[in-house]
Symmetry: C2
Subunit: 362 residues, 2 copies
């Protein structure tokens, strides 16, 4: 997407054996980049959430394997790299999907060919992600057109950041929003701030502002009230893993918004790239591992002080215990549908298989 | 309640014509007090949320009228005082209830008697609040006993601060929690941080810690996930206004937790002091005015820096638009019941009238 007139992706190769990322822990204040030259640096970037968002995690992992292969292209090094990267974040399935693809495609080659092939594969994963998101955008645009009220912008609520910053480019949940905005449909986005890491208030607000899409940040508590009062026409969220039965795992709090949408007759969709579907799982609430992160992400928060210094402050009394679950699962029954890169379908096994028929025989 | 061994209320008279309050904007860091000597100071304390919580707002308003009467006991001054105080916060009905009582009881007296009578009335409002909350605690304790699981503490989720800091003493939602803890029932409280003003993370966590009640702070997004996984046995929240039909207006985000409780079969109760019931209203979603506060409460947050200085930081990009609705309404159909000072009843008109039969003829 364009940032102050310049086209950017979230991750791109620069020269031999170096991949550059936007350091998302510095946004919205600084648009800083970091160069990754080793598998360890790639793993740290994922773990520390310098890159985040299921699709971007997958792309970064593919580059991580390529960086590992440049140093040592042995079978052992390949397996070690996959192990290191797989351990960084447990919930998003794109990570496993990208690494399994690396194992399959790179592992099959003689060691001498692996470094170059892994680099090429990582670039392909990135390009495919962008193509997937553009397809999601086209299908989602039709839904937005259907929801368009007379005489005012369509109000879309989103949770967390499933924007271009969560992917290589374009975004998943935002793909349709950008598509609508770019073709002149008046759109207004309610941006959930998304505690505890505030990816909505920082990243989604930042990227919508830079693209010129009207938006308003709200606390995560507010969406139900807005829906009760007719102020939301449509909800679109991302997903870190969607089961074969259509259960949608996404940032903690998504489930609460889906409940409010159902209670108020507001359509609630997830934007689901094919690689986010976990065909091995059915019951998302029981089966998807939910990452627990450090309590300090709840008890402390970072922001910018009056003199524009990034400052961390404590929100609770000293030594207050806190729990920090990163994701929740919205049962398929609460989803109006899934916007995939192959079309929109009901959040059911049959719905997904109708678009991904090759999985019937997998 | 006791703070480090010392019994305290949130508001108490000190000497002639001065009432002292805990400055809740300084908690949990400083236990500071402020002396109010004029009606204007009382109004500012309510508006700036140095005092907050529906019952405490009512008590502070009664003292505000007493301070006004000490300066000028004319009819005009009484009406002016009521007008100033009524304009401070629009949602809580206790404010109107306390002021109407002042008008009725003080306005009926000759001006020469008003100052002393108003002071006495304000003290009575405070004592009655404590008695009401103790009664709520007794009835709520029975519900907790029913929810007690074998072999582990009962997990109670609460939203915002309906603790003793929201009242004169004891609290409403916390009344039963303190009663259970004090009689040896093992209790653990999930404390919603309650954005944007974080009354849960700051005030509820502070008062539970000082009373020794085990608790864990969570982001507002987390409650649904906890309920899906059997980690919540019971929800108890406060209310700023409950309609005659049982719709419960409370801090923004309460409605989302009620939806999750219903979806997971978790009992969901509001602690409802008699003065919080608005017998004039039926449809809470349509009829209760919802306060909109400054956007800066969403875009900025205050906390304590490493060197223990109260510091405000910006969470969003500069100039990000934000909306800030203070309350929402949970429809009666989502409430398991209402814990009033006269007993527990269904959240229905008949349920409430069975406990407040005098309202049948009002």
């Amino acid at each position: 997407m364009r940032v102050d007139g310049v086209s950017m992706r979230t991750i791109w190769p620069v020269g031999a054996g170096v991949v550059r990322i936007i350091d998302q822990t510095r946004l919205p204040h600084d648009l800083a980049t970091i160069d990754l030259g080793t598998i360890e640096q790639a793993a740290t970037a994922i773990k520390s959430m310098q890159v985040r968002g299921a699709p971007l995690i997958g792309a970064t992992a593919a580059f991580g394997v390529a960086l590992a292969m440049a140093a040592d292209a042995s079978d052992a090094a390949l397996e070690q790299a996959i192990g290191i990267l797989l351990a960084t974040r447990p919930t998003a399935v794109n990570l496993r999907w990208a690494l399994e693809r690396c194992r399959r495609e790179i592992g099959a080659l003689p060691p001498a060919e692996r470094a170059a092939a892994a680099w090429k594969l990582a670039a392909a994963v990135c390009d495919e992600d962008v193509a997937i998101n553009r397809a999601i955008g086209r299908f989602g645009l039709e839904l937005i057109k259907k929801s368009l009220p007379r005489g005012r912008p369509v109000n879309i609520l989103t949770h967390c950041n499933a924007g271009w910053l969560a992917t290589v480019d374009v975004g998943t949940a935002t793909a349709a929003i950008y598509a609508a905005h770019d073709c002149g449909i008046p759109v207004h986005v309610w941006v959930d701030e998304t505690r505890p890491r505030n990816q909505g208030a920082s990243l989604t607000a930042w990227e919508l502002a830079h693209h010129g899409v009207p938006h308003t940040v709200i606390v995560d508590n507010a969406g139900g009230h807005l829906m009760q009062h007719g102020m939301v026409d449509l909800c679109i969220v991302g997903t870190d893993r969607t089961t074969a039965a259509g259960d949608v795992c996404n940032k903690i709090g998504t489930y609460l918004k889906a409940l409010a949408a159902r209670d108020n007759g507001v359509p609630f969709y997830a934007a689901v790239p094919g690689p986010s579907i976990d065909w091995n799982l059915s019951d998302g609430v029981k089966e998807i591992p939910i990452e627990q992160r450090d309590a300090s992400e709840v008890t402390h928060i970072s922001g910018w002080s009056n003199d524009d210094a990034l400052t961390t402050v404590r929100l609770t009394p000293k030594d207050t215990p806190a729990a920090n679950y990163g994701f929740d699962v919205t049962p398929a029954r609460l989803m109006t549908g899934l916007i995939t890169d192959r079309g929109v379908c009901p959040a059911t096994r049959e719905g997904l298989l109708s678009l991904f028929p090759e999985q019937r025989c997998a």
